[in-house]
Symmetry: C2
Subunit: 161 residues, 2 copies
DNA sequence: GTACATGCAAAGTCTTTGCCGCCGG
DNA sequence: CCGGCGGCAAAGACTTTGCATGTAC
């Protein structure tokens, strides 16, 4: 067992629709449905949630196909793969960089309406030996539902320090 | 399969050594060695890396014990559990909040010498339905070693968009 | 002495992959 | 036509857990 962490997929965000036109990829029914369902989703679904959504329209689709297509669609820049901590990856119909907020209790993810930190990476110039590509800002807290539950149960899930 | 994301452990950073004194936990030899190895580590080791380090001194320790103790030690506020994306958790001898930088190629993690964003969470007041506990800022790039390799191989791992 | 802890192995969760027949362009 | 695709199931990577025994206090 060695530390393993494949590179995140460098995403080429062309902004164009139908990137597939210029690629070696085909637009299959499965791929199309997956993309459609993600774009219709209000939330940031996990692979399994996408699977469940698409399954209602294509009952015979397999989870493997969903994973493969989510990977491909994020390579194509049609969607964005999110690795925000927690155990699962989530997917965002919006391939543009933006910040997120994650519920520490249920894992729900929403967008964080915070302006991009444009200068923040400058602070690292000369202060790090890394080549910087970007940054990710994730807020952590409780979603409204879990906030209500926490209040009801009297449990304190707050995070001192 | 349901979206599952246990809460991050609210870390009580007392700064005191020997928090164990006041807790129900015992200081076993395994626990002690694990803590010691993490504190001596220059990097931010994964559970498996901690296992390998400790194994040199306690050859019969099991990986399960390492996982259990890393969990407990971070509950105690002696160390910090990091979930920075990628597939694995890493551990930081420093339980205080600070920012990190992660190599997209090999998964290595180092501290990011960037001043804490004190006001950033204020931007979310009234703009989100979440109860905010904190935030995490992770820079992404290539560590020096992987930078060198990328340059040597001519591969472009940069991240457009 | 009594909980809590360990070692070991099995199980769990999420994700990836090999194989082979199928189908989009 | 043919090379990418999908379905299926098995394998993989990382982490957690059940159980019987051991040990810190």
């Amino acid at each position: 067992m060695t530390a393993k962490n494949g590179p995140n997929d460098p995403v080429e965000a062309t902004g164009k629709k139908n990137v597939e036109k210029n690629s070696r990829y085909r637009m299959t029914r499965q791929r199309e449905m997956i993309l459609e369902e993600i774009r219709n989703a209000k939330a940031h679904p996990s692979a399994d949630e996408v699977y469940e959504m698409v399954r209602k329209r294509l009952p015979r689709i397999s989870l493997g196909t969903v994973y493969r297509n989510l990977e491909i669609l994020s390579e194509l820049g049609e969607i964005q793969k999110l690795e925000l901590g927690g155990d699962i990856k989530r997917f965002d119909w919006n391939p543009k960089k933006h910040y997120h907020i994650r519920c520490l209790n249920c894992g729900r993810v929403d967008n964080a309406p915070v302006a991009p930190l444009k200068q923040i990476e400058d602070e690292l110039y000369g202060a790090t030996v890394y080549t910087i590509f970007g940054h990710r800002l994730v807020f952590e807290g409780l979603c409204p539902r879990c906030t209500r539950e926490a209040e009801a149960s009297g449990k304190d899930l707050s995070n001192p320090q």
